[in-house]
Symmetry: C2
Subunit: 504 residues, 2 copies
């Protein structure tokens, strides 16, 4: 069995999606009798680990074989090669065969695996960055929503401008002015959260095979998006002060990417914040090389102490920075409300992309959030959140110091939810994941955050939904697993993983 | 001057957008001295008409020349060739030069011209399909919105599933069952209005240069969208009973398109409804040829008399129909709330496209609309709207019969807002448009609705925002212009326009 699967080689440079390559390999094994009827296919996680690919790629290949009736799947039992007779009637297609775009297929390979589930009676979940809804300021929002609807209902339920509700555009421009950004309301485009911001920017700038530069590790959800636009990703390592600017300069000197994507503040997944001098240097570098910088400023207002830093956009004299913000982390994720601040030369074309996508974002929600902000509720809420996350972060770091082995390291974020853990060379996430799930401690494996390479020496802990009084216990459980697994890793991570890119 | 512009030939088959071709032509004329400094460029409408292209293509070319400082523009005066000195300093780029994707540039050529504006003191606007906000049931909606927020605020302001709020998905499936559609909640995907539905479907199915079949004329906003996905459009003429199915059969026999887009009910812009036998035949034909049918069912509930017809989806035994619906026409456009009902084989990939686009649609708005529907408010409101539009339509048709010349013909819609007017061969919209604007009667020129060809013998009248008591007066003003212009058309429409595609 081992030899059977060792022979599979997947070509990451091929135009054919990985899951289709795998599907074809397995079908060949079935056709040549290597996999007889009734044979059980490996569990998706095992095969993914063996082949060094995303687990979702394996499940997509299995799904495709199920559709073709070459294999069948039983929940809780596994996936088995079908009886020969079962695939004998494909010539009477009683149903439409759907054929998807190359873009959709390319994206499909890049979705993250579903989150781990645990049957532990008392789980502690460090795996999610979803904000805690128990902290939502529902009541003051309900009041302002009702008021704006009573006052301007007809207008707010009618079609509106693609670029957004004008008073909210003005407010966003003014709010950013506090952080040193020079923007007029005309530079602001309101969108359905930062994911749509990224989608519209990609749509407006990227052709297939265009090179794109981003941090390694990076935001998980940008990877299927870039795959869909069929961009060629180049990863720049992170340092303790943000993206490695020497590596970036070398990269930009070699070739000019179509855009550069960065999270300079409370970077996801590492929590790292780029210092002011580096911000200035990054913008200067991008300006010299003529590269648009896409700044995802998704949670900079969740700073534990002091005022939020000036974003890259504040250093943008030559208009090369596109700034993305959102109300998802600091207020309500479910509103789907965010914004883009873009140079005049870009904002008009971006607005047309918004029109094509969905015309505009709900005026009612825009007006309600504006009223919420103007009455001061938003700033009060942000201050409250910062206090809560400051305390959670303090408790987390103290627990890491107390319970984690000495050869494990972590970042020290100044805000946001995420802390990034680096395991010693001898240990991989794979070695501890199933034990952690069994012990009811969930985290996000590092592999989710890398465009290339598997990231198995890293994991992300998020404090957004863990009650402060459970943090130490969760870290203790994890620490125990790490100690038990240390030196007993059988996955070969030490030999397969290149030196970690994160210089901390 | 006439000769100067006669020499311009644009290549519609080229990969270079039309506006860039025009821009290059004009720049050549400036460089070789044919257009000296200070020379005035033709008005965009005149040049567009002369070259047989969309006016927006001309304004895009002029805009590009303004950016390059080759020409300058003065509102109310026109566009003039710049002094030679003005373009002498392009070598010091003080600002980022933005380079857009081929997709964004292709879409840009396809946006409709801005609506005409009139300075008439008492205008009558038949040009817009935007619903009348004076009819919005704001108060009952305000009540249910407040209730759902009070009851489930935390849940509704949190992240939600990409496919939509589960109870709303169930409701949509049940509501469609009344019209003969077999759909489970799992077949339903909630989206931000029908424009996003179309975008997600294109994203999931179309590669560049894929052929797409649609009705001629068709919905304006689908054209820039398809241009953005760089689809190759084939137009099928409309008959009085909907898309010409003989022409469609011939087309599908020649080659298989990637999708077929149709509006079988109260088609926009013609108002035509496809009869039941044709619906069945269309679905059968698509099934035989293996072509996905995208059914845009945007306003079928606004039927003047009787129950809404079974949509194409009701005949879809073989799962080839993707059904699009929306709350924009029957309720509130500004909510941006619509849905897709798709076969199981398609809905999962479509859901991933939704995730990539913007994660999900606001749960709060979904829950509020569901509560609104479940209390019966929606059906009451639809009945009220149907009565109002029935009366407006009756008044419009009576006025057309009374005031329009005998050689002008029109459709007789069974619901919706639009009536489609066909002028005699000797007359073109261009000949009457400026007079109509001066007389304060706005309508939409036919050219907006054709992918190829200029449609200058057609125009659309929409009654959505014209008060019932002003309809006859508006038609009378237009009728007078038509009588005055009849036989005095200097645009050469009679010789240039092919036989109209609409057999009514």
């Amino acid at each position: 069995m081992v030899q059977l699967w060792d022979g599979i080689e997947l070509d990451r440079t091929s135009n054919q999606p990985l899951y289709q390559q795998l599907e074809a390999h397995i079908e060949k094994l079935i056709n040549d009798g290597s996999l007889p009827a009734g044979a059980k296919l490996p569990a998706s996680r095992d095969l993914a680990s063996k082949l060094g690919i995303n687990r979702n790629t394996v499940t997509s290949a299995y799904d495709a074989l199920v559709t073709k009736t070459r294999v069948h799947s039983h929940v809780g039992q596994g996936t088995f090669v079908a009886e020969p007779g079962r695939d004998a009637t494909p010539e009477t297609p009683s149903r439409m065969r759907w054929s998807f775009s190359r873009a959709a297929l390319a994206a499909r390979d890049r979705f993250r695996s579903p989150a781990e589930e645990t049957h532990h009676p008392d789980p502690i979940n460090f795996a999610t960055m979803v904000p805690d809804e128990e902290l939502f300021p529902v009541e003051p929002f309900r009041v302002v929503l009702d008021e704006v609807l009573a006052r301007q209902g007809k207008q707010l339920l009618q079609y509106g401008p693609a670029a957004g509700y004008p008073p909210l555009r003005s407010y966003i421009a003014e709010r950013l002015a506090r952080r040193g950004v020079k923007a007029t309301p005309e530079n602001v485009l309101v969108v359905n959260g930062s994911q749509q911001a990224l989608d519209l920017i990609c749509r407006t700038l990227l052709d297939p095979e265009d090179p794109v530069v981003l941090e390694s590790p990076t935001y998980t959800s940008v990877l299927p998006l870039l795959a869909q636009y069929r961009a060629e990703i180049e990863e720049i390592p992170m340092t303790a002060r943000g993206m490695d600017l020497d590596a970036l300069e070398a990269s930009l000197t070699r070739s000019r990417p179509k855009l550069l994507f960065t999270m300079p503040t409370f970077h996801n997944p590492t929590g790292i914040t780029m210092d002011l001098a580096s911000r200035e240097r990054l913008v200067d570098m991008a300006t010299r090389h003529g590269v648009p910088v896409i700044e995802d400023d998704f949670d900079s207002e969740l700073r534990f102490d002091g005022e939020p830093l000036p974003p890259l956009k504040a250093f943008d004299d030559k208009e090369c920075v596109v700034h993305i913000g959102t109300f998802s982390k600091g207020l309500f994720p479910g509103l789907r409300l965010g914004w883009i601040v873009a140079p005049t030369a870009f904002v008009d074309t971006l607005g047309r992309s918004k029109l094509i996508s969905d015309y505009h974002t709900s005026l009612l929600l825009q007006a309600a959030v504006l009223a919420f902000c103007e009455r001061g509720h938003y700033d009060i809420h942000l201050e409250r959140l910062a206090g809560i996350y400051r305390e959670k972060s303090r408790v987390l770091i103290a627990a890491l110091e107390k319970y984690f082995p000495d050869d494990v390291t972590w970042t020290h974020p100044e805000g946001g939810f995420a802390v990034w853990i680096t395991l010693p060379k001898t240990l991989s996430v794979d070695a501890i994941l199933s034990e952690a799930v069994a012990d009811g401690v969930l985290f996000t494996p590092g592999e989710h955050f890398f465009a290339h390479g598997d990231g198995r020496r890293f994991l992300r802990l998020s404090i957004s939904r863990v009650p402060v009084e459970r943090i130490a216990e969760g870290v203790q459980r994890l620490g125990n697993i790490l100690r038990r697994s240390s030196g007993h890793d059988s996955s070969g991570a030490g030999s397969r993983e290149p030196e970690p890119a994160l210089h901390i």
